[in-house]
Symmetry: C2
Subunit: 467 residues, 2 copies
Amino acid sequence: MSNISLYYKNVTADVVGAEHGISPKQFDELAEQTKPLIEQLNDQRKAGQTMYRELPYNEDYPAQVKAVADSLKGDCENFVVLGIGGSALGNIAVQTALNPYMYNMDENQRNGCPRLFVFDNVDPVQIASFVDWVGDKLDKTIFNVISKSGRTAETASVYLVIKKLLEDKLGDKASQRIIATTDAKEGTLRKIADESGYRTLVVPDGVGGRWSVLSPVGLLSAAVCGIDIDGLLEGGRQMDKRVTTTDFYNNPAAINAAVNWNFYNAGKPISVMMPYCYALKDLSDWYRQLWAESLGKTKDLSGNDVFVGPTPVKALGTTDQHSQVQLYREGPNDKLFTFLQVKEFARDVVIGPEPACAPELGYLAGSKMSKLLNAEKVATEYALLKDQRPCMTVLFDKVNAQTIGQFIYLFEVTTSITGLLFDINVYDQPAVELGKEATFALMDRPGFEEMAEKITPVAKLDDKYIV
Amino acid sequence: MSNISLYYKNVTADVVGAEHGISPKQFDELAEQTKPLIEQLNDQRKAGQTMYRELPYNEDYPAQVKAVADSLKGDCENFVVLGIGGSALGNIAVQTALNPYMYNMDENQRNGCPRLFVFDNVDPVQIASFVDWVGDKLDKTIFNVISKSGRTAETASVYLVIKKLLEDKLGDKASQRIIATTDAKEGTLRKIADESGYRTLVVPDGVGGRWSVLSPVGLLSAAVCGIDIDGLLEGGRQMDKRVTTTDFYNNPAAINAAVNWNFYNAGKPISVMMPYCYALKDLSDWYRQLWAESLGKTKDLSGNDVFVGPTPVKALGTTDQHSQVQLYREGPNDKLFTFLQVKEFARDVVIGPEPACAPELGYLAGSKMSKLLNAEKVATEYALLKDQRPCMTVLFDKVNAQTIGQFIYLFEVTTSITGLLFDINVYDQPAVELGKEATFALMDRPGFEEMAEKITPVAKLDDKYIV
């Protein structure tokens, strides 16, 4: 069995010094503060308040997802997700992690599965380019619209573009090319799907978008692209066993949460996730949403103004060594680094011999590339530690469905515990509402005239400040 | 003629309040502080200390680049850049900005130009996937190795993998498939190129990697992919005219620099660049390097410890509204936002009619998608301003070669001026050296045994801290 584990020695005062590290005494204090919160979270779970925790145990969802995926075989060369936020970032992350880099471009590497596209924006130039390409392939293309309500403006807009396109080209058969993943009973998309006869899957109740990747939201595109969804769910269950214990020092989510919370309060409000593995790079985007929407909150649970929230930053090793590491080492010591490191890569490449005229490259020749990649990770960490920058590492034995499932579950539970430490509600996102209403107003939606008036000073540019 | 301009009203105290905004008096103070620095920068330029400023005026480089690009016609279906940092991020940014989204996958949208790939990492799984695909296409593939010295470990490693592959498959003809962009006279890659008979282009002296996109480093891949490189350079010259004036309020680079410097010092160390345009998204990565490596510095010019450096963050509208905006509005007010907004998109898409059962989507139906995208930008900005978060916008009349050239030049000169405000050297990157040496040590390079010993405590995991 492959596992992930958390390595946290390099956040200790022993390694990065008393000013920037956590002493044994402080760690014990963190343990004392966190223990009752683990219990509290376990109680919340029993009370049905953290429904995302049960997704890996649900047997209906994978069965439904597989049935739909099977029904597409032979009929689907392109699978296109229309969703945004939690209805896109998990799908992208799982695909990048578990399918080959050239998946979309190389039929051989797809093993008969369809290409995958995810549209999580409303950019006309991007969509027009895609429509040009897909226009004569619509009868071999499936669109998976994902939205709990169906009223998310971005997803709804792209859906309406695609719906028109399908109807113009395929007529009555258009509805066969759309699968809706939405609320089981109500909402705009449920209504449309039932009226139109779309195949549907369910966005579970009580599971917010950013916690939904292990539900049909994230599982369908994965299954369709040949990913072992049972393995993903198994990974979730494996991690679940490790994150319920109130034994702080044996609970990776508790330690992860406590370390993150500690450094946020200790003048390090920026949290950098830096995978040393191309396949893991989009997990950082998934994490960015989970972290930012869950922990970025003005009010604590008693209603006091707290304005908390670490800023998550996505970086990639080795690429960002040549972009960000200068700042990370020499700039303000205001960051906690979380590396993702892989012990055994699924494939390897041997670096060729050096030319005779360039013996200075001899140290690379004949080495496995995985050795170089992991050497660069340790070298970067070493350099950061020299400058007292605290570092953690999530170690992956391998990158496979189980370890990705473990990672997802680890960071979800970490987020829940971190929220309890901050004493905030991690499950809502009240601040996105105003932007939605302002969009309605700017799109001339009836009922938002008053709002439109308020926005005018922002919408109308003031020449005095244009240079 | 299409232009870009900077809109900065929404950083003023008028809009975001006295605590978080800049008052007219403060703006005048910033103008006073910045004016002499613009002069100083103009003097540095005359003294030949900012050679990047002259790149748009060089006539040899575009001629050489076009000659090489022309020589590839009919012989090149795939163009592969091997480079990292400044030898990759500009290439990627220009390609995403100026070529269609489906460029690599749609022959029609490429207009006879080759596919473009950029490898700026040493990930074995990623490279193996690409080698599987390209293995039988090598005689129609060109590899452009970009490195001033040729000793950058990542670029050298991937180059050695490709060199072996080419020699195994093409024998004597391997050297015809490689173009080296490197130092004119010396260094490892120059030596190899001359010995092997590669075609070469020059990395100019006195222009650091992150300032080199308008040199052959960035221009060759652009020209090969059909991008108007004369337009890029023209854009640079157009902006140059606007950023030399000591009239602060008419100099967009000076205002951009002063605003950024001001907010860094006023408790906003995070700088978010958020394009509302998919094509502009990778300009944020190019900017991330320029900003972080140039401004992240421990020492000022007098040698005092200052530990400065804003942390650049890449975001994308509308996508990140559903990921980061909750934090941006409700979390700490520690960020300056720079939006990129496009007035006239190159293409547009009309949103289809709403289904009869879903009149609540009627407000979208029949609208142009560009209207929605720009409405969401203004809506997000409005919501941020309600919470006193300062915002700037770079307005693009259109996205084309000229405006991209203008943007590049604007942010380069902005960086130079910001560095003078911080009183630091923006042209070096001393902190990346230690990591390079540590990598040598971990790769068992002779001469680095002592370093290897120092790293051992980091390289060897301590079981006590694994959970």
